[in-house]
Symmetry: D2
Subunit: 343 residues, 4 copies
């Protein structure tokens, strides 16, 4: 398959990550996380996010989000998130099925949740007739490739905490957000008051693997191990997940991969925004570009390159880059789009 | 307690219903619906709704809605309903907890779901990443005391069926809607293509009891008995639920009670709409009036009569009437409101 | 229908209970338990069980058991009960469906759970691979009409508490047990260390209604209202459940009804145990007699009187009495059995 | 870590499997199984099990069992399995949590379920009060390292099908069973009537990965994709799971790894059974040996080699071998046990 622009999960494993898997493959190791790789990887997370960070590896993004949120919600407590959140639109109701709780989707202007959006959803009664809001969940970067500024997250956290709510960040692409903002995942989460982060690996160079981080170790210590097991996210050969994360969090690889993906998207944006017939639809700052063009041109381009139509109605397409996308890939892709429009 | 204007569930049991309970209280009866009262009550439903009607009694409205919908949704199938639906706002996520399925709340102009509102929610992919729409649920009368016209329901049904979806009517107040429209519950449901109705008893003179009606007997025959039992809605002494419904569906009592409640609301509307300081906020045609007035006046009125502030933001209040509300009650209430405003 | 010997839930409503319903039927009342009847009924429970008793009314026995147990179990925590418990055999998995938790059924000699039966089930690991025992649930009287002696319950409670477990009593027939032992429901529960009781009404003269009693008000105060609502057990016209319980707990009616039921069973036992062809199979001390007789004779008897074959294998039948069973009923029944055997 | 005798999931990745991962790591690939590796791996399964086989990869054993069983059980339908089944004892109630259904654990003599064990559990009523048996689940090899003979499975299947039940095989170690019996996984499953198999990879040389096989493609085609997604078992970078299975099912590697593991266990058994102080407790024919010895000797041995005490009561230990266990490992282990006993 030629380079895909469909999703960062179409990418291969980054070489340093693969090397870490190979290196972990010596001799026997105790299962279920009681191995040295897991201990070291957790240590790396604590270096990055602080010593109080409680870390649980999971298989995939849906698993990580659902297990993380399940730890802090009772069945009558609800998660508030943007209408466009992955949790709401792309996880097939896994959260509802696992917890019985309600996700309350909130319309937003651009995929970013703001206090004014949230407020009307907090007026429902506090009695037993109504699901009780418990967590605010946002995606950083957003589903539209944009980022929350640190101040925006800080305000959401203050707003949430004042009402007894937790803040969860779906960080499938937290590294891309940090790269875009020239900062660190820590500076975008725990330092701003975020309570729970699902830190993405799969979309940033790993074979598979996500990490649930609770920034207060008392939050889920007695709960998360059971929730992860019941959520079918407990890997027996945990060393192979852990070794990948250890490698990712070493020598700033998380940043290198994400920065590269972002830079490729920036290159794409720069070259494609001026093409007649292409209209950029979103303020994308990470590794995704959203655009609209003629429906027939989209079809022609999709014959040459694999990417998704994100919203059939407009139509709006999404083009994603990743750690392995090259400048030549971008240039080939731009050419393909141009020719599709020209025909 | 003086007359309440808070809800039709504040009403006592209507005398003919109570008489039916007394009459049922002779000797022993087999439990769980294998008794003669249940058979007769089911027969009454079939007289009203057609011979193919499959009927299951439940304890309360939440139970009836949840059991009914659970019979036709797999855990990855979703129910589409207005954002204001009782199912979404007032059942504390009971549906999600019982089924693991998702409710997809749809914003509407006035609490009535229209095809244009629905369409954007049917564009999501048909693959495993997205909850699959399965049922459209509407309330008749609506949560705002309005009614769907027969044509509106017919169109929704045609739209739904063309897409393989079912239509469910939350009929906690279906009798009030039928009374308002001068027609029958049948003419508002099965005759228009509705697949499932939860027919309300509690709010129309019963002590307790709702009836789930499947209009296609193959829809849930192997499912509903188990769903009702697991939903903890199976009464052992079923005769006492059944006897009430038998009485309600006899001699048009359902209509008499509902018409009276509607008439009292109409009287209230007529007298109160012209009071300075009261603004009617909804197009109410059944037994609920929505209005706004000065916050302090609301508080003063609530000291004299029990009713709810429905939406604190506006603020909007709801005034409900029921089978036992009298003309004097209305006149007293209007006076109370007037004096609250005057002070 | 002639007198049934199938179940105490085949009985009609006792006259004093019905009178209480009639008396409650005046004027309007706030819904969902914020009425004076509910407050008085809760007061009666506190008189009987102590001031710290936290009471929640539910519609039926399955609902009461499931809501009660759900309040103290996380989804990975298990309820241990006899293999023969109603919770395990007759509630269609409602507990598992509502909570996702596991019921661990324990074989017993005679339906009574003893410490020696329990012990092997407490050796499983305390890690995330295994459901963690959280509650021991017993039925008083047992499913076989026998009773636990106070000392047996006290020992179970001490055993449970020493291991951080709660003790729940399914008291659908707690009144029969208290009557049989010449004591009170309190002396059989809170005074022995029981943490949670579901106090039965339906099988002891009520139209419907069960009461969940938490004996430590901190146990479920923030949980039970939501669990009851999500469990679809919250009656809107609560006064009619409450009024029944108020009546039942007044002038020792609970005891009178249960004593009468027990006395009728004792009379039946005395007359039937000496009939050739009838073998009593269980040590029944309350209102149920278990026996075996010739399969053809059972069939003939069932043509004349309604009762259940409890276990087809043996075959074993169950004969139950209730508050309304008369001496004549017993004598007629004994005659029917005799004649069925003689044919 | 020295060689572990705790579990076959303590093993590293087999070299041919790792090579397949490396080979898959070129360029981009569409996510979620729409890639060429997945298609080829499914093809391999069809070569092995027949063209009608419907295959879904999952992350781990709990996930594979739960998703597989969820596809054929409604929430009121139950799975019957041995009391000792992994599903019952080691999956932390994940099945109950995901489905709301009941697992009915059946005591057996030796971990093998026989028709005589099953029969009493099929007499419960067919009405809504009782969970309805729907699937019989057995483990091949068993949790005690023994195997079902083909005739035993054939009889179970005939018994099940005659009652409308499905048969599921938890085949976490199906390869070890096939190796022990000198046959193929196919000859132990679809050819005998088995309906569903979870085919184990993790314990037979893979990094991670299990495969759910439905042998009738109509059984779950519309259900399994959604169940897997909701069960959080859908890998985005599916090629890396698929490539491993493709390699495992090529050149009889599944057999080579499993045969080696079994042979190492046989060598261990031969050398250890005659040691004074060791008593073999189970008829083990695959890669697990169960034994009892002095509690102090166990503790001493565990200081030198990592293995689990399976049952603290006896005490009974489990010693497992795997594809990477060597003859020297066995000899060292035997020495360690001997010296532990001698001290």
């Amino acid at each position: 398959m030629k380079r895909s622009f469909a999703s960062d999960n179409n990418a291969p494993i980054a070489p340093e990550i693969l090397a870490a898997i190979l290196e972990a493959n010596h001799g026997d190791a105790v299962g279920y996380g009681r191995d040295e790789w897991t201990q070291r990887a957790i240590g790396r997370f604590r270096e990055h996010f602080g010593e109080r960070t409680d870390v649980y590896f999971a298989f995939n993004g849906t698993g990580a989000n659902v297990v993380a949120l399940s730890c802090v919600t009772k069945p009558w407590e609800a998660v508030l998130c943007p209408l466009t959140a992955h949790l709401q639109t792309d996880e097939c109701g896994a959260f509802e099925r696992f917890t019985g709780s309600k996700v309350i989707p909130i319309p937003t202007r651009d995929g970013k949740l703001r206090i004014a959006d949230l407020e009307p959803y907090l007026h429902a009664g506090h009695d037993e007739h109504h699901p009780q809001p418990r967590v605010i969940s946002i995606s950083q970067s957003t589903e539209y490739g944009d980022v929350y500024e640190p101040d925006e997250v800080r305000e959401l956290c203050a707003f949430a905490h004042a009402r007894g709510l937790y803040v969860h960040v779906d960080g499938a692409r937290i590294s891309n957000a940090a790269a875009a903002l020239g900062t660190t995942p820590r500076a975008l989460t725990v330092d701003l008051g975020v309570d729970i982060l699902t830190f993405g690996g799969t979309k940033n160079g790993l074979m598979f693997g996500e990490a649930i981080c609770f920034f207060d170790p008392t939050l889920a210590a007695n709960v998360a191990p059971f929730a992860r097991k019941q959520g079918m996210q407990l890997a027996s050969k945990m060393r192979y997940v852990a070794a990948q994360f250890e490698a990712l969090l070493t020598e700033d690889r998380w940043l290198r991969y994400a920065s590269h993906a972002n830079a490729m998207a920036a290159r794409l944006l720069e070259r494609i925004r001026t093409i007649e017939g292409v209209r950029i639809t979103r303020n994308a700052r990470c590794n995704a570009i959203f655009a609209t063009m003629d429906r027939a041109a989209i079809a022609r381009a999709q014959e040459r390159v694999f990417f998704y139509t994100f919203d059939e109605a407009l139509p709006e397409v999404r083009w994603m880059t990743h750690w392995a996308t090259t400048e030549d890939d971008i240039d080939d892709f731009v050419l393909a789009v141009k020719e599709s429009l020209a025909t």
